[in-house]
């Protein structure tokens, strides 16, 4: 390769490397803003102000769902298995909503620590299988709980 081309190529590589580092640092600095949701632990520890509009992501706690008979009002708790936050919501839930399912809710926490959601979305994990396989795995005692990894705090 002649020196002129070699110089051009190294300038391109140098600029590309420099830009990548810059973008990487910017994204790292902004990571709290880029994260889609707060975890129940972050909310329970008071990282968000009352009334601030946020998203919260966690699992629907087993045995916590209470729905009203005469309206679409529903109350449940969302948990990362360290802290649980009670959520109140009135509206249509996604089909996937059930106990033990990952959800992301939009709304705000009131001063008593209850989260009032204006929208509830389902978050599923990256494991796909047929009903037959699921039944066989459950019978064999294999844990196939639909636990998106980002909803559970890493075990310490």
């Amino acid at each position: 390769m002649n020196p002129h081309r070699q110089k051009k190529l190294s300038i391109i590589l140098f600029v590309a490397a420099g830009l990548s580092v810059t973008v990487g640092l910017i994204l790292y600095a902004m990571s709290q803003n880029i994260n889609l949701f707060y975890t129940p632990t972050q909310v329970a520890q008071g990282e968000v102000r009352a009334g601030q509009r946020i998203r919260i992501g966690g699992m629907v706690k087993e045995g916590s769902v209470v729905s009203a008979n005469d309206s679409l009002q529903v109350r449940f708790e969302t948990t990362d298995y360290v802290h649980a936050v009670p959520i109140e919501y009135e509206g249509i839930l996604p089909d996937l909503f059930r106990e033990g399912q990952g959800i992301v809710a939009e709304g705000s926490v009131d001063s008593s620590g209850v989260f009032h959601a204006s929208r509830v979305l389902a978050k599923h994990d990256e494991n796909y299988m047929s009903q037959e396989v699921k039944v066989a795995l459950d019978a064999a005692g294999v844990n196939t709980d639909n636990h998106p990894s980002s909803l559970i705090l890493p075990e310490s």
Binding site: K8, L96, Y128, E132, K134
Partner: protein, 246 residues
Amino acid sequence: MWLWFSKLGSPKWFYELSGRWLPWLVIPMALLLVVGIVWALLFVPPDYQQGETIRIMYIHVPFASISLAFFPLMAVAGTITLVWKMKLADMVAKVAAPLGAWFTALALMSGSIWGSDIWGTWWIWDGRLTSMLLQFFLLIGVISLRSALEDSDAAAKACAVLSIVGCINVFVIKYSVEWWNTLHQPASSFSLSDEAPNPPEVWVPLVIMIIAIYLFFAVSLILSTRNEILERERRAQWVQDLVEAQ
């Protein structure tokens, strides 16, 4: 190797060679597309939690995964244009941008349909969806930049630089689901066992569809490049001869 490299850069040579390659790409593509679509739509078992909606994955994943190839492709072609001034590289870069925009749009749209049914929303500003939308706008930007500059040499250089910069976004798309928490799920890992999450009955048709769509990408890219070659080399003797032979 350098001889081969400069030979590949000759539009005439590429035109002749790609003409001979095409059937070997089109035939497997057609076969795999038919097998993959029939398998995915009729024979894949419904998912235990998503039911029939899981079939959207067999369109969404192939398009989404191949759309990540466009910026690296355009960046390599752009670097060759900037350093070696090879005409063919710029032709490939030029036709790749609109193709990439289509593939990215298809990934976004199929994902929206999937999300509206399963998540409960067709759009959310999470890391994965936003960075993918950014890629769509970057591709629109590359297309606009090329048509905005009159001087085709200057346009080629400007697009090459933008493509190299846009490449960074590919890493952001790829790792967005791991760096930040998102609504979008991370990539699945395939299992060889029949009795495990993501068993072969789920991923074998997916792999067939992925190969089919990759071949579709290669065929589209080669066909549009051949078109671009004829357009730009229309005054060359070999193109004139080709037209007369028709």
